[in-house]
């Protein structure tokens, strides 16, 4: 064929070929680079998604002293596991200890007086007995007998008074003991020391904004999940739910429903910024969970998926096909 003898025709064929090759190369759509970790995916067919934060089951205790005073000793450090009544820190107790000494010293003289009074009573009792045993009215005057009897009764009352004073002195000593005891601040319940903001030598004031120590229970953690108020009607109490911490989207932590906070509150951005922005209102749901195999900490953010029943019929286009019944899990 004459056509194939022309260079121009070959050039044309080459041109079309090259264009096709470039086109195929250019139109090859690059697929998305794989995410560095799995994005959080829902394990359920129908879900309500929420963002949550891990926190201790019981609220943290802000330890405060009963009285203001100088701190002389701190017994615990951050992270210590403490049981109930474990001493946490000691306030300066020298003044009370000095008082204790005088109060303690006041007891011994009273005890001595009581002993003294005992002998006095004994003496009078013997006198009275001797006088009473004499039946001759001329040997013992009525007057002597009466006098001795009165003296004995007086001595008995005096003994009672001394006992009362002795008891009072002991009570005064015990008062100081209790006050001394109060200067040792103890753990109100078992938990972990989360923060220590005092050092020996510092002055502990009452009602300071920063707690002297923070005691919390991190053994059992719970999740506080925020659901947008728009989605609030979709939440079914007791519905199964899972959570996954950030950067471990594939690891699901099963959750147990605890309660729904009955009051819808303004959402706080969980950004850790000093000024929180109020965005929208959210429904809070509390979930409990068992510690997973990987470490989780109070304060971590989580993505929560709550199952819901096949959804509301409103707002859905009737033509939309049903989602596939089987899903790879």
């Amino acid at each position: 064929m004459i056509v194939f003898k022309r260079v121009s025709v070959w050039l044309a064929v080459a041109g079309v070929g090259f264009a096709a090759w470039v086109l195929i190369g250019a139109n090859k759509k690059e697929s998305m680079p794989t995410p560095i970790s799995e994005p959080p995916r829902s394990p359920y067919e129908q879900v309500v998604a929420a963002s949550g934060i891990i926190e201790a089951v019981n609220e943290n205790v802000r330890i405060a002293p009963a009285v203001a005073g100088l701190i002389t000793k701190v017994f615990v450090k951050v992270g210590d596991q403490v049981t109930e009544q474990t001493p946490l820190f000691q306030l300066d107790d020298r003044e009370l200890r000095a008082q204790y000494l005088t109060r303690e010293a006041a007891i011994a003289p009273l005890q001595a007086q009581i002993d003294e009074q005992k002998y006095k009573i004994g003496d009078l009792e013997t006198q009275l007995q001797r006088l009473q045993s004499v039946h001759d009215e001329r040997a013992v005057s009525e007057d002597d007998l009466k006098r001795t009897w009165y003296a004995l009764e007086m001595a008995k009352r005096g003994d009672q008074r001394l006992h009362a004073s002795h008891k009072q002195a002991k009570a005064q000593r015990d008062e100081v003991t209790i006050l001394l005891e109060r200067l040792t601040v103890r753990a109100p319940r078992s938990g972990i020391i989360l923060q220590v903001n005092v050092r020996a030598g510092e002055y502990a004031t009452l009602g300071s904004s920063e707690p002297l120590m923070l005691l919390g229970e991190t053994e059992q953690l719970q999740i506080r999940a925020d659901v947008d108020e728009v989605n609030a009607p979709l939440v079914i109490p007791q519905a199964p739910a899972v959570a996954s911490i950030k950067s471990l989207g594939s690891e699901k932590i099963p959750l147990t429903f605890v309660r729904i906070e009955p009051y819808v509150i303004p959402k706080k951005s969980l950004t850790g910024e000093n000024i929180e922005r109020v965005d929208t209102r959210v429904l809070r749901i509390i979930y409990r969970f068992n510690r997973p195999s990987f470490p989780v900490y109070a304060g971590q953010q989580v993505d929560v998926f709550i199952e819901r029943k096949p959804s509301r019929t409103t707002g859905r286009t009737p033509s939309s096909p049903t989602t596939p019944t089987e899903r790879p899990s």
Binding site: V16, A19, N27, V48, V227, V230, T323
Partner: protein, 376 residues
């Protein structure tokens, strides 16, 4: 007779080359202009294609990708709550000023990707590791940012600059498609972006989502629209929306439109005219054939064969040259050039049509031809 027709066409080498050149350059002109126009349109939606995610969720009143209308933070969870959504992650996008150590200021686009997954990150990096963006104060630039900010001598991996008075450290240079406005893109994490941007009540610019496999993306988009009241678009729709906005609201539509139209008209005029002149010049030979007893139908067939042969050859060489041009110049990504098969098909159809028209004119002339012309 076909052989005679082709012999006539190829016989006069000079004439044939002239004819071929005319057609080739006409085709090349149209393809090149059209491709540059299309390339520019692709650039206008670079911020969408560079992120390469299937679904974009934002305010329903959005006009184009660079116009950000922030949403409430909970929009991510609302999108996640819908059927058929496989995942949804937040994205920050906004303009910010960067100040270099030299004291120079540059307007930049800050893109904050979700930190755990880094969905939306560019597929390729020129230097460094994109994952290092998770380090404190780390940002990643695209290669155009390096170019705009003064080249690799000024900005490279390890360079420190200020973003809204806060420290930013370059840990990698990403390879992306150039954008239309060519504002440097600075990538950071969503949390990082929150640190850099001035305080606003709402910060979430877009929710990026993907449909579950087996669920059509259009259904999911429709569901997001009806059930959340937010605006949802597929990547393609959002791109289309963006370049329609560019066409309507900037001078590019009118300017480039007229240029392309002119290129098309000029190209086609040259092609038609050249071929017409060719037949006119060969009128004597055709007259001779007619005098020898060839029917008008046979002559028409010969002319059509010649027309299509030279037309297709010119087309092939033309698109070849245009592609080579585009391949060489657009390699660095500095010139917008995007050839599409639709454009090539359009040019082919138009070229064959013009060949047909000019051939018909010649055929009409030939039909009226007196064989006696040979003897004049």
């Amino acid at each position: 007779m076909n052989y005679v027709a082709l012999k006539m066409l190829f016989g006069d080498r000079a004439k044939y080359l002239m004819l071929l050149c005319g057609l080739t350059f006409a085709v090349m002109l149209i393809v090149q202009q059209g491709s540059i126009f299309w390339g520019l349109m692709m650039w206008s939606q670079a911020s969408i294609t560079n992120l390469n995610v299937p679904i974009w969720v934002t305010d329903p009143g959005i006009a184009q990708v660079d116009e950000v209308k922030p949403l409430a933070d909970t929009a991510v969870d609302r999108v996640r709550s819908l059927d058929g959504v496989e995942w949804a992650v937040p994205l920050y996008k906004g303009l910010l000023r960067a100040r270099l150590a030299t004291g120079e200021y540059h307007q930049i686009t800050l893109t904050g990707l979700e930190s755990a997954t880094l969905i939306g990150r560019p597929a390729e990096v020129q230097e460094g590791r994109f994952e290092d963006i998770l380090q404190p104060d780390a940002v990643v630039l695209d290669q155009w940012a390096v170019e705009r900010m003064g080249g690799p001598t000024v900005v490279r991996v390890g360079t420190i600059f200020e973003l809204n008075d806060k420290l930013a450290r370059v840990v990698a240079i990403a390879k992306t498609q150039k954008s239309f406005t060519n504002i440097p893109v600075v990538y950071t994490t969503y949390e990082g972006a929150m640190r850099y941007v001035p305080r606003e009540r709402r910060i979430l610019s877009y929710v990026l989502a993907k449909h579950k496999d087996g669920v059509p993306v259009e259904d999911v988009v429709q569901r997001i629209r009806t059930q959340t009241g937010l605006g949802a678009f597929t990547q393609e729709d959002f791109g289309f929306k963006t370049y329609m906005w560019v066409l309507v609201n900037t001078g590019i539509g009118i300017n480039f439109g007229t240029t392309i139209l002119l290129g098309f008209i000029v190209g086609m005029a040259i092609a038609g005219q050249t071929f017409y002149l060719f037949t006119i010049e060969n009128l004597r030979q055709f007259g001779a054939l007619k005098a020898m007893g060839a029917s008008s139908f046979t002559l028409a067939r010969m002319i059509l064969l010649q027309a299509f042969t030279v037309g297709l050859t010119g087309y092939g060489v033309g698109i070849g040259l245009a592609t080579v041009f585009g391949f060489l110049t657009a390699q660095g990504g500095n010139l917008p050039f995007a050839e599409t098969w639709q454009l090539l098909l359009l040019v082919l159809v138009a070229l064959l049509a013009i060949c047909l028209v000019s051939a018909s004119v010649s055929i009409i002339k030939l039909a009226r031809l007196e064989p006696a012309i040979v003897f004049r």
